[in-house]
């Protein structure tokens, strides 16, 4: 029974990682860049929900209604200004720039809001849970996160395969120049992909802020988990990311089962093992590397 608990815990945590990672996966798939400030954007979303949203008289539970569109806008603007400039140089520059952004954001948050932990208070809702058996309780909130993660991935999949903009995104992802020749403004498409990525990471950041306390420095750890989920699942595969997240969550819970100190270590070791045995990930193609 204890193993069932571990696996269920892992699946619930893993779906959160997948929610975190899908923006990273999308940005890599379309723009071929890794946003090293991805985790920090989630933390900024958390701080926005705490310090900015109350000014609009919105309840904390509904803070995503304000933060997600705001982040989509920010994502579009950041892509069209800063990131596009870096992409125009080379992939190397995007790494330097996004890493620089990550350090700047983290230290700005530290200077403005101190190193104290923050969390988004949704009141009694967070403590409601479902008693499955005598040893297993599942909080409703983690089920909501699971549902949101699946819904986001599903709608992203449908968006990419069935809408005009989605088709353009896939075209630009396959061949930027050819798409440009067919009349697609690839810079605008990059902006849209980035807006989606920022919106999903804002959602993940709010979910994170509700479920646990976070600090200005929390972004790095989250980026690691998101990245591990992407690589385990296979680069460029959205459903792979979900399964990667779940496997990462399960391996972390297994590590934690031996000793609470081994939680992150369990995930890292599983990640390195996947890297050693199947570097393209479980559902990835070799060429995507």
């Amino acid at each position: 029974m204890i193993w069932v608990n571990t696996v269920i815990e892992g699946v619930l945590v893993g779906s959160f990682y997948a929610l975190f990672a899908c923006g990273l996966s999308l940005m890599f798939g379309v723009m071929k860049i890794i946003n090293l400030a991805h985790g920090d954007m989630a933390v900024v979303a958390g701080y926005t929900a705490i310090f900015l949203v109350p000014k609009f008289h919105v309840a904390p539970v509904w803070s995503f209604v304000v933060v997600v569109p705001l982040f989509a806008l920010v994502g579009y603007i950041v892509q069209r200004t800063l990131l596009q400039k870096a992409i125009d140089r080379d992939p190397f520059t995007t790494l330097l720039v996004t890493f620089g952004l990550s350090v700047i954001i983290e230290n700005l948050l530290l200077e403005i809001y101190t190193a104290n932990g923050q969390s988004i208070d949704i009141g009694i809702l967070i403590s409601k849970s479902w008693q499955v058996s005598s040893t297993l309780t599942i909080s409703y909130f983690s089920l909501v996160v699971l549902a949101v993660a699946v819904a986001v991935l599903l709608s992203l999949q449908l968006f990419l395969s069935h809408t005009g903009t989605g088709r353009q995104i896939r075209a630009v992802s396959d061949d930027r120049e050819a798409a440009q020749l067919c009349g697609t403004n690839y810079r605008h498409i990059f902006g849209i992909a980035s807006a989606i990525a920022f919106a999903t990471v804002a959602l993940a950041g709010i979910a994170y802020g509700i479920s646990t306390e976070f600090f200005p420095s929390s972004g790095g750890g989250n980026l690691l988990f998101a990245f591990e989920a992407v690589v385990i699942g296979g680069i460029g595969s959205l459903w792979g990311t979900l399964i990667g997240g779940v496997l990462l969550g399960v391996s972390q819970q297994l590590g934690a089962h031996f000793s609470p100190a081994y939680q992150v270590l369990g995930g890292n070791i599983f990640f390195l093992a996947v890297l050693a045995v199947r570097p393209q990930g479980l559902f990835g193609k070799r060429t995507e590397m």
């Binding site: 520059t93 952004l101 700047i104 230290n107 200077e111 992150v264 390195l272 890297l275």
Partner: protein
């Protein structure tokens, strides 16, 4: 200096190929004088300045290693703090086992190099950003493994034994001198390495990997070698960091801020030059001293400057100096001098002296890449 007859322009025009325009003897004399002064520093400078100088050298070691990785081998590692931490903890381990911490420094360097070997087999399968984050995962894993050893103090850290029987004055001198000598060795070794055949291979891979591969360079094994050297160098930085602190803590030694500093410093100074990271370190320390009462703002400002430089002036401050005045203190490449060559090659995105193959070819226009 080598004279090559210019076939295209007849016997009269001679192009000369050489490394730099300063006589190497002057550079050597300058380096020796500076080295003597810096070795003498603890006897002539106040203790506070010596301590700043010591931290400066630690940063120079880190930045030089990061520059070797990213600026020459194109590997953007954000996990070098892993090797810094391992170097520091190796010193701690040997000191606990009864060794003099200063003797443990070279051992710690060897330990880091050995650990880096299996790591390269995992990491070099990945490219670009994926390589970057995977290095971070490795650093994170190393920290978590160190945390689980109670002998090494776990999460709370441990004091470095073996330094108590030295007088404070003696201790400060020894700390400074060991840091300075490690920094000197690291910079000189990097310089020699880059002037060697390996440096030639690195430049060719950086300028055009496909062409370089097709000419028979072993790209992966070269990258592996550089990664191991950089791991050893960061281990050295960690080792001297360990002896310069009274207390060794995982959160400090394995901090991502080391990587942030080495990245910003080498970017601002100029990636792909030996002088750049040193210049960047000087600027970093000046800024840090100037803004020392302003918390983390120095890092924010420095980061913003580094990002702007990456976007608008990717060759950094030393790159500006080099492009404007055609001046290098520690040249690792070759330059082609001759009237027929200069104008077109100087205007291109890559100046002539970055192509070290210029030496091999006779016709001057082949010097421009």
């Amino acid at each position: 200096m080598k004279k090559v007859r210019n076939l295209e322009h007849g016997a009269d025009s001679i192009v000369t190929v050489r490394r730099g325009q300063i006589n190497p003897l002057y550079t050597l004399i300058g380096a020796v004088v500076l080295s003597v002064l810096l070795t003498w520093a603890p006897w002539i400078l106040p203790a506070a300045d010596v301590s700043i100088l010591q931290n400066f050298f630690i940063l120079v070691i880190m930045a030089t290693m990061w520059n070797l990785l990213a600026g020459y081998a194109g590997m953007v590692s954000i996990g070098q703090q892993g090797f810094i931490g391992l170097g520091a903890y190796a010193v701690l381990y040997f000191a606990i086992k009864g060794l003099n911490p200063f003797v443990a420094i070279p051992l710690a360097i060897i330990v880091c190099a050995i650990i880096a070997v299996p790591v390269t087999f995992l990491l070099l399968r990945l490219r670009g950003g994926y390589f970057s984050i995977a290095t971070w995962v490795v650093a994170n894993t190393a920290m978590l493994l160190i945390l689980s050893f109670t002998l090494l103090g776990g999460g709370t850290g441990a004091a470095l034994p073996g330094l108590v029987n030295l007088s404070p004055n003696q201790l400060n001198h020894d700390r400074y001198l060991s840091t300075w000598f490690v920094a000197l060795i690291v910079v000189v070794a990097t310089y020699v390495l880059l002037r060697s055949r390996l440096g030639l291979v690195l430049s060719s891979v950086r300028d055009n990997e496909v062409a370089s591969r097709s000419s028979g360079t072993k790209v992966t094994s070269t990258r592996r070698m550089i990664f191991i050297v950089a791991a050893a160098g960061c281990g050295a930085a960690g080792a001297v960091l360990a002896i310069s602190q009274p207390f060794i803590q995982p959160g400090n030694e394995f901090s991502l801020s080391w990587t942030a500093e080495m990245l910003f410093v080498s970017m601002i100074g100029g990636l792909g030059t030996i002088e750049g990271p040193i210049l960047g370190s000087i600027i970093f320390f000046a800024l840090q001293q100037w803004l020392q009462n302003w918390g983390a703002w120095y890092l924010i400002i420095f980061g913003a400057v580094a990002v702007s430089i990456a976007l608008w002036q990717p060759r950094g401050l030393w790159g500006i100096v080099r492009d404007k005045f055609h001046f290098e203190l520690l040249p690792v490449g070759y330059r082609v001098n001759g009237a027929a060559v200069d104008p077109p090659s100087m205007k291109g995105d890559r100046p002539a002296w970055r192509s070290r193959f210029a030496r091999k070819k006779v016709a001057p226009e082949s010097a421009s890449t």
